[in-house]
Amino acid sequence: MNERSTHSMFEVTDLSVRYARGEAPVLRDVSLTIDRGESIALVGDSGCGKSTLALAAMRLLPKTAFIRGSIVLRGDNRETPVDILGSDERTIERVRGRRIAMVFQNPIGSLNPVMRIEKQLAEVLRVVRGTSRSTAKRGALESLNRVGIADPVRVGRAYPHELSGGMAQRVALALALAGEPELLIADEPTSALDGIVQAQIVELIRETQRQTNLSLLLITHDMAIAKALTNRVCVIEATRLVDDCPIDQLTAADRHAATARLIQAAEFKRSAAITLMERTI
């Protein structure tokens, strides 16, 4: 444990969240650590509290929420650790987008609907990287190119509603990566997308991780995507973290029932297809 915490760059300790007085908690005593360059997945059914954890990590929870526990971003050893929940707003603003960035499930909704893509990107570049106004536009097109957009000029001129879901998710990813963050939180980045586009985005995230030393916190309900993108899976069931295991030990016999159920669900469609094929052949 001691040996491990020296490498960990992001630590959540005993986090509990309730949205209002008298309401049931949405997270209870959740602890997890992410090491530098590591990818972990937070898997659970909808309503289990996994998105709340993502919001807490960016300190985007409503001010009225009741929060206990701590979230610490360590970064590399030169920098002082940042206490996400305890710091003042200005410190947090320097963390958001620069050191922790986030991609949402609904990419079109997470973009500003009345601003052209290149302008949004240029603005983010100016704010988080301090790029000058004149070079920001070129930088915007470059970052579009980096997320696999073949025609950055045309996409840059477009408004968010003119993009397809997959294209918008690429743009959202470009926005998130603009600040060269250490940690990327991806909240169901592919659930709203079709099969082929899903595969494209999974491939893109994989490629990005290969190129940069980016840590990834993937939030999903689909064990298949978790397996494809990460090397450790944390399972949340009904507000509690019930399992935390490396991807290669997922199928071990002594896994928690919730983990087994989620794996089964992911396998079901595939296995049902196989049984059906066997039956009909």
Binding site: G195, K227, A228, F268
Partner: protein
């Protein structure tokens, strides 16, 4: 068509339960240029033929924007057709005025939540269709509602709740109950599980399959997920840009796709698990101006010059099954394509 086995001959003779022939649907583009004189038309469905035997479950698979939901709405008589016919047991649905014969097709909508009036309880949502069933007397209503809810596996104590108080899975069960309460012969399912968690998806799919088999419903199941279609459909039709590009028995299509697009769809499922394959890049072309010839040629790695000019038709390609058809001019080169995608 040449003679095949006896069983398929018998099938050919029967009138299909649901038959869609040469369906064309287009609508005025909702572009932001409101003042444009000649608004471009979106050609959502461009000549689709489907034929479902009684008790069949056909999966209609394609990416979003390929026209599969438009097709469902056209079948439900919710939008006007440009051309073509939709017939149930040989009766043209857009001609008959009788309510009873229209009620033989019912639909489950993609967003269960949006498809229910937020001001009505579950009970009244499911009762509502019965007001328009002339055969059903008032006293019979509650019995029929109860049996429909039971059939859909809905928790009876929750029937007094409002839609926003239910989970996605329960809500979809209400939608199923509402579609079944009129005891239709044909059920159209428009992405019934895509908004649900994987675990809820599994439950709903099992329930649907169960209902389909016990009631011998004819089902058209629309989805973008090949896994889901494969799990519950015995036949598949793959749609790309308003046309069917491949159709046939599910296991044939999954084992031996005869159209490059189907190949990529099926490869995308593996890509979520391993990283051995190259995904199909790019985006589908705009249905405002579909490409000439084969719609898939702008993204196809095995295209040739004739693909630009000649529009392929659905033809039976494999020797083993005449029902397996693909609309590709180069389906003999599929092995080549498989090599291209695996060697990255």
């Amino acid at each position: 068509m040449t003679k095949s086995t006896r069983t398929s001959q018998e099938i050919e003779r029967q009138t299909p339960r649901l038959e869609v022939s040469d369906l064309h649907v287009s609508f005025a583009s909702r572009s932001h240029r409101r003042l444009q004189r000649n608004k471009p038309r979106v050609h959502a469905v461009r000549g689709v033929d489907l034929s479902l035997q009684p008790g069949a479950c056909m999966g209609l698979v394609g990416e979003s924007g390929c026209g599969k939901s438009t097709l469902a709405r056209a079948v439900m008589n919710l939008i006007p057709l440009d051309r073509g016919t939709i017939a149930v047991d040989g009766n043209d649905m857009h001609r008959v005025e009788s309510k009873a014969s229209r009620q033989r097709i019912q639909m489950i909508f993609q967003h269960a939540h949006a498809s229910m009036n937020p001001r009505m309880t579950v009970e009244s949502v499911v009762t509502d269709p019965l007001r328009f069933d002339d055969r059903c007397t008032k006293s019979e209503r509650s019995r029929r509602v109860e049996s429909a809810l039971q059939l859909a596996g809905f928790d009876a104590p929750l029937r007094g709740r409002y839609p926003h108080e239910l989970s996605g899975g329960q809500l979809q069960r209400v939608a199923i109950a509402r579609a079944l309460v009129l005891e239709p012969d044909v059920l159209i399912c428009d992405e019934p599980v895509s908004a649900l968690d994987v675990s809820a998806q599994v439950e709903i799919l099992a329930q649907l399959k169960d209902i389909q088999q016990t009631r011998s419903l004819t089902m058209l199941f629309i989805t973008h997920d090949l896994d889901i279609a494969a799990a519950i459909c015995d036949r598949l039709a793959v749609m790309y840009l308003g046309r069917i590009v491949e159709s046939g028995p599910t296991h044939e299509i999954l084992r031996n796709p005869q159209h490059p697009y189907t190949h990529y769809l099926s490869a995308a499922r593996d890509l979520k698990r391993t990283s051995a394959l190259q995904p199909l890049m790019g985006e589908p072309p705009s249905p405002l101006a579909p490409p000439t010839g084969c719609s898939f040629h702008p993204r196809c790695p095995i295209k040739s010059d004739i693909c630009h000019s000649q529009t392929p038709v659905l033809l039976s390609t494999s020797q083993s099954s005449l029902q397996h058809q693909a609309a590709c001019l180069h389906s003999e080169r599929m092995d080549e394509l498989k090599e291209i995608t695996t060697n990255r």
